[in-house]
């Protein structure tokens, strides 16, 4: 039952030996892969072309201020294989640059735009990183970062 998932993990480990930090089967139909951000685009393209991960499910940013890094998680579903892979990569908090995956999966377009707006992670190569969800004149920083505090008392 777990066979497909393990196959994905093995293939990735063998193909990108140095760049895959960690790859494991989380549970049935869930695979987690942590990669280094330098080769993110190649790994993503490999996932799409060779392993049939074709359907983007979500892109989420996670803020770890104590580690001084952002984690960007791409969840990709494979329609033929019926497996979800979580492709994780970390970005330093001081210089949050990451190459955009829009050339691989076109569906990441708005997800990356949202992540840029909420976390300030700059996706190089993204065609249109402009205001999306927040008001046009927003100037209070990036709301989903952990150092953005919400009010604790009602007004």
């Amino acid at each position: 039952m777990i066979k497909v998932e393990e196959e994905v993990v093995e293939t990735l480990k063998q193909t990108f030996t140095e760049y895959v930090v960690e790859a494991k089967v989380q549970r049935e139909k869930r695979v987690t892969v942590v990669v280094k951000r330098e080769r993110l685009v190649e790994i993503a393209r490999f996932l799409r072309d060779n392993l049939q991960f074709d359907h983007i499910a979500s892109v989420s940013g996670v803020d770890y201020p104590e580690k001084n890094e952002f984690m960007v998680v791409y969840h990709v579903w494979s329609i033929p294989k019926k497996v979800l892979v979580a492709l994780k990569t970390s970005v330093p908090r001081d210089n949050p640059h990451l190459s955009s995956l829009i050339s691989v999966w076109e569906g990441v377009n708005y997800f990356e735009r949202e992540t840029w707006e909420m976390f300030g992670i700059i996706f190089d190569g993204h065609p249109n990183l402009s205001r999306f969800l927040l008001p046009e004149d927003w100037d209070r920083g990036f709301p989903f970062r952990k150092d953005f505090k919400l009010r604790t008392k009602p007004e």
Partner: protein, 361 residues
């Protein structure tokens, strides 16, 4: 050749809570850009400041149109984090509520599709029959549309007395009505003229853009979370996934319509098969799941919703990412509305069944 930039919303009869920028050449829309964020409440940020149980009504507001299925995903993710297995009876009740929620949402969506082509009567009929199921919800949960019925560990209440008979009676009536709808609405010549060949989304494009749910199935992809990784009681219930090949507005409406029929049959089966037993396992009032992460997928009415929850061992989630179906379908909207007549914009928008609440979160 002059291009006029028109703003379409947020104060517009069908725009809902967002706006489009339309570049119009005469009556032809050459380019379209969504202008969203009008209902951005920061659910994901707010959810980091509440406990796991407090978050149930918060995530429900992602899309109150389909409240059952939206909470479903969140609750499942929390249960996965905590390693809880819920009782069988709770699974069946969840299935029933989820399918009723799907019916309610699809009726709303089909009503909006009808109003997009200017067919008020069908809107009224659909919304009228939506009340059938809202009454059932009221009987079961006490609220019409925002019931917060699922909690980590099970459901809040058991099926009330007389629910079985009442539900069966209403389902019988509803099935008769569905036949009328097919004749009145989907076989209406004018409706066919207005929706056939409008906003054609091909199979490859649909997958490339990451479109989900009925929109994906209308393009010929047989992808449904209920079959791909069955949750709740869906693995014990017999149903099919309706698909169409054309990928136009009519096909998208048709898929929704056939899903209504399937939902009715699922509710019937679930009501007949429902086992006795407990409806929830004991969960502390402020659950503290161990460190870890979970990604749960649930098929809502508008498509697959993904909850990515990271727990750091405290009683509040470290991060809740909601990958909402309308947000994923949104990318198809600018893609489809290039070089189409202005009159097709509402048809495309409402046939994709985009809900701004869901997009903005």
């Amino acid at each position: 050749m002059s291009i006029m930039r028109v703003r379409w919303g947020p104060q517009h009869p069908v725009s809902g809570q967002w706006a489009f920028w339309l570049d119009v050449d005469g009556d032809i829309v050459v380019n379209m850009e969504p202008d969203i964020g009008y209902t951005h409440r920061g659910i994901e940020k707010v959810a980091e400041n509440r406990t796991y149980i407090q978050n149930v009504p918060v995530v429900e507001r992602t899309s109150v149109f389909d409240a059952g299925n939206i909470v479903f995903g969140y609750v499942q993710a929390v249960e996965e984090l905590m390693g809880i297995e819920i009782p069988e009876r709770a699974k069946y009740i969840r299935t029933i509520v989820g399918e009723m929620s799907r019916i309610v949402s699809h009726l709303y969506g089909l009503g909006l599709l009808a109003i997009a082509v200017g067919f008020e009567t069908m809107l009224m009929w659909f919304i009228n029959d939506r009340e059938l199921f809202l009454d059932l919800f009221e009987m079961l949960t006490g609220a019409r549309i925002t019931y917060s019925f699922f909690i980590p560990g099970g459901v809040l209440h058991d099926l009330p007395q007389g629910f079985y008979d009442e539900a069966m009676r209403r389902l019988d009536y509803f099935e008769r009505r569905l036949k009328d709808y097919w004749k009145m609405f989907f076989l209406n010549r004018t409706f066919i003229t207005r929706t056939r060949g409008v906003g054609v989304l091909k199979r490859e494009d649909a997958i490339r853009l990451g479109v989900v749910g009925p929109n994906l199935r209308a393009s010929g992809v047989e992808a449904d979370v209920r079959k791909d990784e069955p949750y709740a009681a869906y693995d014990q219930i017999d149903f099919i996934i309706p698909t169409e090949k054309e990928g136009d507005a009519y096909a998208r409406g048709g898929v929704r319509f056939h899903e209504l029929e399937q939902s009715v049959s699922i509710i019937r089966q679930a009501l007949k098969k429902i086992p006795d037993g407990k409806i929830r396992v004991k969960v502390p009032i402020t659950p503290t799941p161990p460190k870890g992460e979970a990604y749960s997928r649930v098929e809502t009415a508008r498509g697959e919703i993904g909850y990515y929850i990271i727990s750091d061992g405290s009683n509040r989630p470290y991060r809740v990412k909601i990958s909402a179906p309308s947000f994923r379908n949104l990318l198809a909207m600018p893609f489809l509305s290039r070089n189409v007549p202005m009159a097709d914009i509402p048809t495309i928008y409402l046939s994709l069944d985009l809900i701004p609440l869901d997009v903005d979160r």
